[in-house]
Point group: C2
Chain length 441, copies 2
């Protein structure tokens, strides 16, 4: 009975790891080009940190522990936002604004593993703090779209579903929901699809929603607005004055400026479960609704204060690796080869040349070429070239009698098929002219 | 009172993170070019996994926990080797040989934080399985040296100190240590410098070492052999037959073949504390002995069997980020700029041109250029160019009346100082000819 990885966690063998690196590098690339700087924090935090925004209720969803003989309670991070808020709060005045950070943490949640949900997963976090207004929201959404596009997805396959808590709040107030019940109404909107009809009816009644008003509430929850819709038409559809939805209109203008409006639609049923969101909220979904949300985020202008920092406007999102990978698999967007390509495969065609392998391999590697060689005790060139082909090497370098006697090696281009002879000590220079070494430095 | 990171852990603000990425990328680069494939495992494992090679004693050094309502005991990984052994054992027959894996895990140990030792740190792991003999040992050591050299270190600053358990064992046996006490003698060699003289004397006597024999034992422990020493001279020095140290001689030949012999010296006092090493053992040290070991490893041919896999020869090492960084700092080898460079800074010289910023920024970013812009409400070109300079942008793109009216932008090379005018829709093409976008794709 061999040991297994813990339930809900993953082993990353080379193939799975190459895919993870592909995703991480895509996340990193679009983050950097949008001017976000990478940060990270500890894998575990003081347990109390997670109660600040989520209360005691969070504890059972955490893996928490103490050191043997210690008294401090720690928890594995279930999300990165509390760490980010702590880090911003403790250096708020020293950090230049805007703070544009990204992070690719692994997160751990003590929940039941299921499709799209694991106990340990990766999550790309993108956050922008110190800037208010829809331009910042749009820039953050642009970065999410930039990633989706760079992985080959199109607006016909995924959509950013956007809502705005203030807009929904104003609509709810006009429907007759009391100010102090707006948060409950958000929760009801969020959990609507997961509730039985009867349970939903009771909860709605408790908020003062019934008859026409309840119908209208359901209408709001079901409202999808294509991005090309006019905002007057939208106001008409909700039977609210245009000024009530002007925040969404302003965001829409900014999304158009960033060229991503066609990736977005407005869905007033999206409120995000978390109480700390304050304005724009959004989720990225596969268009048929086949999977959980690919990403989710929004504006959280009061969170840094909750962590004893100064008032700091903020907007950000998180995107996990699990659902994203499922969607990319479904769309056939997993490239066949994601492992780093092999530049050179060195082989000895004669026993006498074998001692020349190691020095040459060492020289090629130090020059930045991804270099492999045959470990099996064979000088069968056919077999060795086959091995070179299997690892998809670009070049084969063949060592033989001529190498031992005259310092001449054979150089075979495994893509083009040409074979030439090169003086051994000029090989690195020769290869440098033929191919940029991907791993130099 | 603001929240702090847990004791012994670190926050990675952008500057610290840029350094961490620099190290991780260096580790990854030399691993890949030597043909190692990246792997990873869960951040926590079943607690029992860590008892296989370390016994019950390890438990107090681990952060361990259970899920609320669960019965399985987990522990944060204090090292990667048990995960690697589990992964290899469970797929041993399916994995092509040799297995050449590297990993850059974060590891957690519940020990007292001190200089060079934290409760959470990164460790580069390089392992080669399925190949026996000194050539594999030398290739792994080459990879360690390749890293040290690529970071700017020289053999005058750091040394790989090598020993061989079989060689030391044979010397100990000739000194009169009984076969069944050899492991105790290893432990004594390893802990020698940390023990009081009296305590050491008692432990040595228990192994049957006293008088001349103890003196010789101490001599062995203190023995440093420069790599250029002849092996006959070495045998003479130990007063042992040459055949007793031939394993080290064979390794030395391979290290010469890989061109790293000048980075190595032989130190029979190095045994590594861990009972599972079987042959070659080594540590990388700053030459003055100023810090803890930079890296440590060796051959562990019986470990995979302990995890219920087939007999599998194996050699590998781990290198932590903490001591390595201290050494690089001490040697002045921390580059000034390690953050990803900014390609373009877009600014509006006139209020009317401001709405043109977002579309252009979006276009440049999607093309792979790391693009920033000024968030402050100013059209003062001097101030904005200063901001562009502060983030070390390569180019500034200046939008003004001409942009609004004729689609013309100013392009200033912030390194050379030249300024030209470019048609806005040709800007990306123009920049692509001037500079490779580092973040395309």
């Amino acid at each position: 009975m061999k040991f297994q990885p813990p339930k809900g966690t993953r082993d990353f063998y080379p193939e799975e790891m190459a895919w993870r690196r592909y995703l991480e590098e895509a996340w990193r690339r679009v983050s950097v080009r949008s001017g976000f700087e990478e940060v990270d924090g500890p894998i575990f935090e003081l347990l109390d940190l997670y109660k600040v925004k989520s209360g005691e209720g969070i504890v059972s969803e955490l893996f928490h522990f103490m050191r043997t003989g210690g008294e401090t309670r720690y928890a594995l991070r279930p999300e990165f936002t509390p760490t980010l808020a702590r880090m911003v709060a403790s250096k708020a005045h020293a950090l230049p604004k805007p703070i544009k950070w990204f992070c690719i943490p692994n997160l751990c949640r003590a929940e039941r593993p299921q499709r799209g949900r694991l106990r340990e997963f990766l999550q790309w976090n993108v956050d922008m703090l110190g800037i208010e207004g829809p331009a910042a929201d749009a820039e953050v959404i642009f970065t999410a779209v930039d990633l989706l596009r760079s992985l080959g997805l199109s607006p016909r396959q995924v959509k950013v579903k956007i809502s705005h808590r203030d807009v929904v709040r104003r609509i709810l107030l006009r429907l007759g929901v009391a100010e102090e019940k707006v948060l409950d109404a958000f929760t009801l909107l969020d959990r609507r699809d997961k509730m039985a009809a009867e349970e939903f009816g009771r909860a709605a009644a408790a908020l003062g929603l019934d008859g026409t008003t309840l119908e209208r509430f359901n209408q709001v929850a079901r409202t999808r607005i294509e991005s090309h819709g006019s905002w007057s038409a939208v106001a008409e559809r909700f039977e609210v004055p245009e000024q009530d939805i002007e925040d969404l209109g302003a965001l829409h203008e900014q999304l158009e400026a960033f060229g991503v409006a066609d990736w977005c639609e407005y869905d007033l049923g999206i409120v995000r479960g978390l109480a700390y969101y304050t304005g724009t909220v959004f989720e990225v979904h596969e268009i048929s609704g086949a999977e959980r949300a690919i990403a989710g985020g929004g504006r959280y202008d009061r969170l840094i204060e909750m962590f004893e920092g100064p008032p700091t406007p903020a907007v950000g999102f998180g995107m996990g690796d699990v659902v994203l990978t499922l969607v990319l698999q479904d769309k056939g967007l997993i490239p066949e080869h994601v492992a780093p390509p092999v530049d050179v495969f060195v082989l000895a065609a004669q026993e006498s040349a074998r001692p020349r392998i190691a020095p040459l391999v060492a020289e090629l590697r130090a020059a930045g070429f991804h270099t492999r060689f045959g470990y099996r005790a064979t000088t069968n060139v056919g077999k060795l070239l086959k091995e070179a082909g299997q690892c998809r090497a670009r070049f084969a370098v063949i060592l033989d009698e001529q190498t031992v006697e005259g310092g001449i090696v054979g150089l075979k281009d495994l893509q083009g098929g040409q074979q030439t002879q090169v003086v051994s000590r000029e090989l690195v220079g020769h290869l440098l002219r033929a191919a940029e070494p991907a791993h130099a430095g």
